[in-house]
Symmetry: C2
Subunit: 514 residues, 2 copies
């Protein structure tokens, strides 16, 4: 376990540290957040009990569909559910009881042990954007993403102090065949970063590739008792579990790898237009999904996921950073804690097409709610733009910088004698100032969080420098980070074996583009 | 009392409503927020008790300075304080006891009774930016503010649905003499809006002018038992109360008008670099200031103010939207509630020079903390830019729009049968969709908060429209609001009497420019 706080990296990446130092850029990696502040509980006990009772009613009375998955139906039948065709009616209490074998907290091990993360409890792990087919590049062009873009995002995540996790599909590398791009993405995470990462879920065979490559990276024997991937299993809301996603879940659960069981909901389309109704459906779906993971393998790590937005009834577009989304996030966090499961939400969500004020309002609304709502694993913490259609380099570094705000806020208030600072107030007295007092001198270097991207200069200096807006500042930051990047060291034998696996698998089947 | 929720205005402003309707723009005014969600308490009971004990120690042992104000020293001596020169040592417990006569909640009456606000309790009243000498205008020029800019901000506040209060010095009208500009500002608030407003505090005589003009507007006899102004009394931190500000406070308190007693702190300069130390000083200063208001007139309305930012130790600039500022805001809210006083903080604070991503991250961080921190009166809720040096029209409408997010979030979660939406989930079932279901049809128009400024259009439509960023969208919004503006009706006799008062007072003394 890494100790609290942030520090220079001890090993692995010394080259990057040295290179960053030469360029005047600090290369640091913060430990995942351990909250020393309370959660914000928006629902009272009565409301929670109503939602929980309603979810049990849904599971028993309406049930859920497990599609194209006869083995799943068998498992459910055996566990005591009433299976009618592909519809699984789960008796009240059964799903919750099955969920009890899932751990409340687990370690996701990284190849650099200093970067391993604890998911659950009072902890918050931050991971980048997942899924967009487009990028907005530094020239301002919005275009289809490539594997080179993907590698650039891995590098940015590796270089970002407040980002704990390398994530998964940082963007879709559309220039690589659909059935082969997972191999290139995994190879990038494994070789260009030493932070923890996610596996492929788009087909059970690709989940198996993820497992096999992890066996090369971590050692075949270690994987049985070590969780090295946390992968995103979306539920096809409402109340539907498709065979492909469940096939991937089965691969991961059997291998003790973690799954985020995540309803994917645009409120008004995939769930009711009300917060309480949406929470009820979310809980029912997560109960069924996590219970199923425990039917596959009791004790397999699972995360209570919630990705919820709402539809704009004028344009039909999904919206982000809205008050309803925050209410759902707060409520879902409470439901997850009562269920004893780690909780996952989105982070830097926004609908804006540009990294402008809209993007930042919406993102900050989500980030603040996620911190106070007790999220344990935050996906999309940085780089998300345009409702998830676009990964943005500029927004990546702007958001990643704001994640520092969450770290400091989560520490809570220092009530030590030094924090109380009575002697400083005595020393300065009425009408004085604190700039030179002993307490300030002793504490100022660590007293206040400071942005690494935003502008604090006086107006005149800023104007003389060309009056850069946040997007321009972000472009400079992206270039500086990439310029300072060197890959973390990796055993050449492992690197070669990974490359060989990718080459062999790519050669074993023709390219598919759907 | 206005009923809950928002509605079309019943009276006063029918012309604006009709004109706005013709232009396709809705003209609405939301009621102040009544929170139906809990507060976020960052400090535990032990921490609160330590800070409270330390504040009492400071007041007794170090004391506070009341400068250039012999009458104040007499009042303190009479109340039992130990006065040494201008230093007032307040025995432990005395200030808190004196604060007990200040009301926990009070009504600030507006000339349109539908716009009166309740300050305190579970309520949150939102008021615009206060104090900047510069504006950033729609052409992008940063220049000294004028009285015409001031009037434009009054109009924008009047037209903004989620802004409850017309505020005070929306910008400094630097083209009017220093000793006369308060008259023009008050006249603008009184005639161009019908929302509540603030009085002048820059000299006791200007506070008296504010009272006299209110007697014309509301009727001389009403003022004795009706609070119609909430004015900003800054403390000269650390621990110093200057004669001019206290002179203004004395005028207002004697007349039962409300004062915000507000330490003005850049942490590291006017307070220690630690959160707990700053909270201790804030509490001591507010205790002394509110106690003093009660010595002047027991029962006079007073607000626990806190304007706290921290200094960037590299540039010396104040910073905003930082985690330390949020921690202080949360802690100060708790201290205010334990003291039984309404609580004031800042709102849309930021250090950015432009209404860009930096401005919005910093603003949203502050707005979210202020809502959950239990703020009752939020100054600078919209329009603040560049650390308070600049009032921005664009940022005014962007922030004012985001204030709608706070309104919806504060409502809490609807747990009615309709909110639970079980029948909707039954109707749709696994694999269906909610777009056409009965529950969606019945609720979609009010289900989700919707921005009036930000862009939700599909990428292609947005691109065809010139790909506007948030600032461009804001400029369109400003122009549309001003185009739809007509002043609320005012009795011509009162309008003439106000103008006459302003003219006479202006003629009574020469212009002063310092």
């Amino acid at each position: 376990m890494a100790e609290a706080g942030t520090r220079r990296r001890g090993r692995g990446g010394g080259g990057a540290a040295r290179r960053a130092e030469r360029s005047g850029m600090k290369f640091e990696a913060a430990r995942y957040i351990s909250r020393n502040i309370p959660d914000f509980d928006i629902l009272n006990a009565e409301a929670l009990e109503i939602i929980e009772a309603n979810a049990e009613t849904l599971l028993e009375e309406i049930g859920v569909n497990f599609v194209d998955n006869p083995a799943a139906l068998d498992r459910w039948r055996e566990a005591g559910a009433d299976v009618q065709g592909e519809r699984v009616h789960i008796p009240k209490g059964l799903a919750r009881k099955l969920c009890a074998t899932a751990p409340a907290q687990f370690t996701q091990t990284a190849r650099n042990p200093d970067r391993s993360v604890e998911i659950g409890g009072r902890n918050l792990v931050l991971a980048p954007v997942y899924g967009p087919p487009f990028v907005r590049d530094l020239s301002g062009e919005r275009r289809y993403a490539t594997i080179e873009d993907f590698r650039t995002f891995v590098k940015l995540g590796y270089m970002s102090k407040w980002v704990h996790h390398s994530g998964g599909t940082l963007c879709e590398p559309t220039d690589v065949a659909v059935n082969k791009r997972h191999l290139d993405m995994l190879l990038a995470h494994m070789t260009l970063s030493d932070k923890p990462f996610m596996g492929s879920v788009t087909d059970p065979s690709r989940a198996q590739d993820s497992v096999e490559m992890c066996k090369i990276l971590f050692g075949a024997d270690r994987l049985d008792d070590t969780t090295v991937m946390t992968s995103l299993i979306n539920i096809n809301s409402p109340l539907t579990f498709d065979g492909i996603m469940m096939g991937a879940l089965e691969v991961y659960a059997r291998q003790n790898q973690a799954c985020i069981i995540s309803p994917f909901i645009v409120g008004g389309a995939m769930a009711p237009v009300s917060v309480a109704g949406t929470l009820t459906q979310v809980l029912a779906e997560v109960l069924a999904g996590v219970a199923y993971s425990q039917l596959v393998k009791p004790g397999a790590p699972a995360i209570f996921g919630a990705f919820v937005t709402s539809i704009d009834m004028n344009s039909g577009a999904p919206t982000f950073g809205t008050p309803e989304a925050s209410q759902i996030l707060y409520g879902a966090g409470q439901l997850a804690r009562r269920l004893g499961l780690p909780f996952r939400s989105g982070g830097g969500l926004c609908g804006s097409k540009l990294p402008d004020a809209q993007a930042a309002y919406e993102t900050a609304n989500t980030l603040n709610a996620a911190l106070l709502g007790g999220v344990n694993f935050m996906l999309h913490a940085c780089g998300w733009l345009e409702g998830g259609l676009v990964s943005s380099f500029e927004k990546f570094v702007l958001d990643a910088d704001q994640l520092g705000v969450l770290h400091t806020l989560a520490k809570g208030v220092d009530m030590s004698e030094n924090g109380q600072a009575l002697d400083a107030i005595r020393e300065v007295g009425p009408g004085g100032h604190y700039l030179g007092c002993a307490h300030t001198q002793a504490n100022f270097q660590t007293a206040f969080w400071r942005s690494d991207v935003l502008d604090y200069r006086p107006f005149e200096h800023w104007q003389d420098d060309g009056a850069p807006d946040s997007a321009a500042l972000a472009r400079s930051r992206v270039r500086a980070l990439l310029d300072a990047y060197t890959p973390p060291p990796l055993d050449p034998g492992i690197a070669a074996a990974l490359q060989d696996y990718v080459d062999r698998r790519k050669a074993s089947e023709p390219d598919a583009f759907t």
